[in-house]
């Protein structure tokens, strides 16, 4: 997951961050803007709705007012003067004729007013299609005195509009009757004489309402005081339904509340929304009362339509916003491309550099921005690196050359020092071992030993001041002239040292010097003559374990000044004594705590080394120094040389032969054994070897005596014993029957004891004890030869 994330580039990051930020800002602005514009629209809508509603009410009032004016005027005429029946009828007829909106007009008099004989007198003109017809209303069935249109105005003493009704069979129009009470003054007193009515067709009102367009599907309607629909786009509702019955049918409490407020004659733009009846659309309603008759006008505003502009704005702004975001994306991609593409090229170039391809051309960048400057820096780095690598290569190859030369130099230097051990295998008088380890490839330490005649061994150890190549060259000179001077016969050590010093002083441009211990051992006597030119005191380990220092210095180190050494000292190495020489690389080896190994420590180690060989002693010291320094870098050259004097070997004849001849009788074996024992004792042989020889001889000869002869004659068995430095040869020659013990099957020594054969064990013992075993049949004789080493 993480890797995938990391892989996403700059473009992606820029897009994500900038895009998100802009989108959030944009959304906030947009939402705020939407909210504000919605409120503004609502405010406008409210004003607009109120205006529209007022306008409609005004128009409705105008229509109704104009209708209502006519009976009002007539009523004055009728009240003020006394017209004849005919005249009144003419006025009524005129009223109907001249006013298209008036459907019918009537004057209903109080009983017996107009004519004392007639209880009911109510002339009525009305439209029947195009004609105006007349009839007299009122009879026993139609007792208009108790009708609302008559009774109510009479009671309340003022004109009034009736509830609208549908004139079935008449004009087939919706009507409402306007009733005006008539009074006449008599004796200064006003009294009621009847009612003047005008039936008004509401068609005009309806047509006007139908003509009203509110947005697309909005409409206006009118209800009566009781809530009955007077005008509505759905014609079926008119007269037949009330706003409350519809509210019940729709189960709309909002509508009921609105209806109640309308009937109460309130005016408002209702905040509640409801589904209008005509289109079943979520709508809001504005309403206002018609003051003339208490009817109420409602105007329906479908929400989606009046919000259309806001929504359009919303969509428009959204598209603009999305377009803007898309454009920002494009700009980001373009910018990041222009940044990342040179960076990518640089990255490729960097990888090429890492692979060592410094000739890889960095694509040029024309821009002067940070990327361009990075490009230039990169190009600069390329050339600088190229130069640096070239320098490094030259330096390295020069260094390698020096190192390989130093390696050869080391081999040459090591070749000057005898390092092959045992150095003199033929010399039994002493054992010698040396060790040298320069701190660097080559060093200034030296040790050397060589015979200057048959018995005298010259040995030396030295340390040139300084380390490394100069010291190594000086060491080479020292070693060479030391060997050269020693070849001059008859010189003692101090003469050799003086000659060497003269030479080294004369040819010492580097002002180096060398400490040197030079000794000459007489291998016959163990006497040692030595000169110490400023070198560490060697140790002498006596055969009894005592350790002492040869603490005499005869002169200052060689190469400093021409002076003369004092006479050499001498001492004697006894058999088993060892002389141990070392350079200060041993005593001054450091450990990690910066402590020195010390001379004291060397002497402690040497204390229990009397029984060890020079090799073992040196090995012990070197191991101890290595343990001590614990991997700390070797600071100085280390050299050690040890010589153990073993004494002059006993002079004995290199090879001795002894021959015995015995007869083939088993009894002779004991004298033979005695003879062998005596011989071996003479030859200073260990009892182990003696037992071996005895056992081999006994087994072989008893074998021959027991099984070799088929006759009873005497036979000679010849035994030759040959002794030299390291071996005893046993030769047995007999004339018994042919028997080759080598091919003889040996006893099975691996079987269980109960299956063991008792024979063949003797031959097995002989084979196991001898180091060489040969058999020959020659001149009818068995010849067995056995060699035992010791």
């Amino acid at each position: 997951m993480k890797r995938i994330k990391n892989k996403r580039g700059l473009t992606f990051k820029l897009i994500i961050f900038i895009f998100l930020s802009v989108a959030i800002i944009f959304t906030l602005i947009f939402l705020d803007n939407y909210d504000i514009s919605k409120k503004m629209v609502e405010k406008n809508l409210k004003l607009n709705a109120e205006l529209i509603t007022k306008n409609i009410v005004y128009k409705a009032e105008k229509i109704l007012g104009s209708v209502q004016e006519i009976p009002n005027n007539f009523s004055k005429i009728i009240e003020d003067s006394s017209y004849s029946e005919a005249e009144i009828n003419r006025i009524l007829k005129m009223e109907v004729e001249n006013n298209s909106e008036i459907y019918g007009a009537c004057i209903a008099y109080e009983p017996f007013y107009f004519n004392s004989t007639k209880k009911y007198y109510a002339p009525y003109y009305y439209r029947n299609k195009k004609e105006i017809e007349f009839k007299c209303l009122g009879n026993e069935q139609y007792d208009y005195f108790i009708m609302d249109w008559y009774k109510i105005p009479k009671e309340i003493n003022r004109p009034m509009w009736s509830e609208p009704y549908y004139d079935k069979g008449g004009g087939n129009v919706i009507m409402s009757t306007y009733s005006v009470p008539l009074y006449r003054e008599k004796n200064g007193k006003k009294y009621f004489i009847g009612i003047l009515t005008a039936d008004v067709s509401l068609n005009l009102l309806r047509e006007y309402f139908e003509s009203i367009k509110v947005y697309k599907t909005g409409y206006a309607f009118m209800i009566s005081k009781k809530g009955t629909y007077i005008s509505h786009p759905i014609k079926e509702l008119i007269i037949n339904e009330t706003i409350f019955s519809i509210a019940d049918a729709q189960k709309s409490s909002e509508m009921r509340v609105i209806g109640r407020d309308m009937v109460k004659g309130e005016s408002s733009f209702a905040d509640t929304e409801y589904y209008n009846i005509k289109y079943n659309k979520l709508s809001r309603i504005a309403y206002a009362p018609v003051s003339l008759n208490g009817w109420s006008v409602g105007v329906v505003f479908p929400v989606d339509e009046f919000m259309k502009d806001v929504n359009n704005l919303f969509i428009r702004v959204m598209f603009l916003g999305l377009g803007g975001l898309f454009f920002i994306c494009l700009v980001i991609i373009f910018i990041s491309r222009s940044i990342t593409s040179p960076l990518r090229k640089l990255s490729i170039a960097a990888n090429k550099f890492a692979e060592g391809d410094f000739d890889f051309e960095i694509p040029p960048s024309s821009s002067n921005d940070e990327v361009g400057s990075l490009n230039k820096s990169f190009a600069h780095m390329q050339s600088a690196l190229k130069k640096y690598i070239e320098n490094l290569r030259l330096t390295t190859s020069a260094k390698e050359k020096i190192e390989s030369e130093l390696k050869i130099a080391r081999e040459i230097q090591m070749g000057m020092i005898p390092r092959k051990f045992p150095a003199f295998p033929e010399k039994k008088e002493f054992d010698i071992y040396g060790f040298i380890e320069p701190a660097k490839e080559v060093g200034g330490d030296l040790y050397d030993f060589f015979f200057i005649d048959d018995v005298r061994l010259c040995f030396a150890i030295g340390d040139v001041s300084g380390k490394g190549t100069p010291a190594a060259l000086f060491m080479a000179i020292t070693t060479t002239i030391m060997r050269a001077e020693n070849q001059i016969a008859g010189l003692n050590t101090s003469s050799v040292i003086n000659l060497m010093n003269n030479y080294l002083c004369k040819n010492n441009e580097g002002n180096l010097f060398v400490t040197l211990f030079l000794g000459i051992l007489n291998t016959s006597t163990g006497e040692v003559e030595y000169i110490n030119a400023g070198h560490n005191y060697p140790f002498v380990i006596k055969c009894n374990g005592a350790v002492s220092e040869l603490n005499t210095t005869h002169c200052i180190p060689l190469g400093i000044s021409i002076n003369t050494c004092s006479n050499p000292n001498t001492f004697k190495l006894e058999k088993g004594d060892t002389i141990f020489l070392y350079t200060d690389g041993v005593s001054e080896a450091f450990n990690i705590d910066d402590q020195q190994y010390s001379i004291k420590k060397i002497s402690e180690i040497l204390h229990n080394q009397a029984n060890h060989t020079p090799f073992e002693i040196i090995q012990h010291i070197i191991d101890d120094v290595k343990d001590f320094s614990q991997g700390t870098e070797q600071s100085d050259d280390i050299s050690v040389l040890a010589i153990k004097y073993l004494g002059k070997p006993l002079s004995k004849v290199p090879t001795q032969n002894y021959q015995m001849v015995i007869k083939n009788s088993i009894g002779n074996l004991s004298s033979l054994s005695e003879k062998i024992t005596q011989l071996c004792n003479n030859w200073e042989m260990s009892s182990d070897v003696l037992n071996k020889v005895n056992l081999v001889v006994e087994e072989l000869i008893s074998n021959t005596i027991f099984y070799g002869y088929s006759d009873t004659f005497e036979h000679d068995i010849i035994l030759n014993l040959m002794y030299d430095e390291s071996t005893i040869s046993i030769e047995i020659i007999d004339d018994a029957k042919e028997f080759n013990p080598i091919t003889q099957k040996s006893a099975d020594i691996n079987s269980d004891i109960n299956e063991r054969q008792v024979g063949g064990l003797g031959i097995h013992l002989v084979k196991s004890l001898s180091d060489a075993f040969t058999y020959q049949r020659e001149d009818s004789k068995n010849k067995i030869k056995i060699i035992i080493q010791f």
Binding site: L669, S673, E699, N754, V758, L761, G762, L765
Partner: protein
């Protein structure tokens, strides 16, 4: 001089000197004489023996076969004599110390 000690069913042979081909037959006779009764265990003490030859090994094998290796012990063997037992691979089989 070789010594023999009998203690019930146990025979202890204390040997001395060289045991070579020549005196093996004498030794064998001596041991046989001492084993005539109901001896079931044999211990050979070789404290004083500094040399043996294969003929002695033959005697050892014979005795082991007679009394079985569980009832046979060789003790106080000196190193040069032990070497011979080792060469014959008897140290692995019989109880030698």
């Amino acid at each position: 001089m070789n010594k023999y000690e009998r203690n019930g069913k146990l025979l202890t042979c204390i040997l001395s000197g060289k045991i070579d081909t020549l005196n093996t037959s004498v030794l064998e006779n001596e041991i046989n004489e001492n084993m005539i009764e109901d001896i079931t265990s044999v211990v050979i003490d070789m404290q004083e023996v500094d040399y043996i030859s294969s003929s002695f090994l033959r005697i050892v094998i014979k005795i082991v076969k007679a009394v079985s290796k569980e009832n046979f012990v060789i003790k106080n063997v000196n190193p040069s004599v032990m070497k011979v037992f080792k060469i014959a691979n008897l140290t692995e089989i019989i109880n030698i110390g």
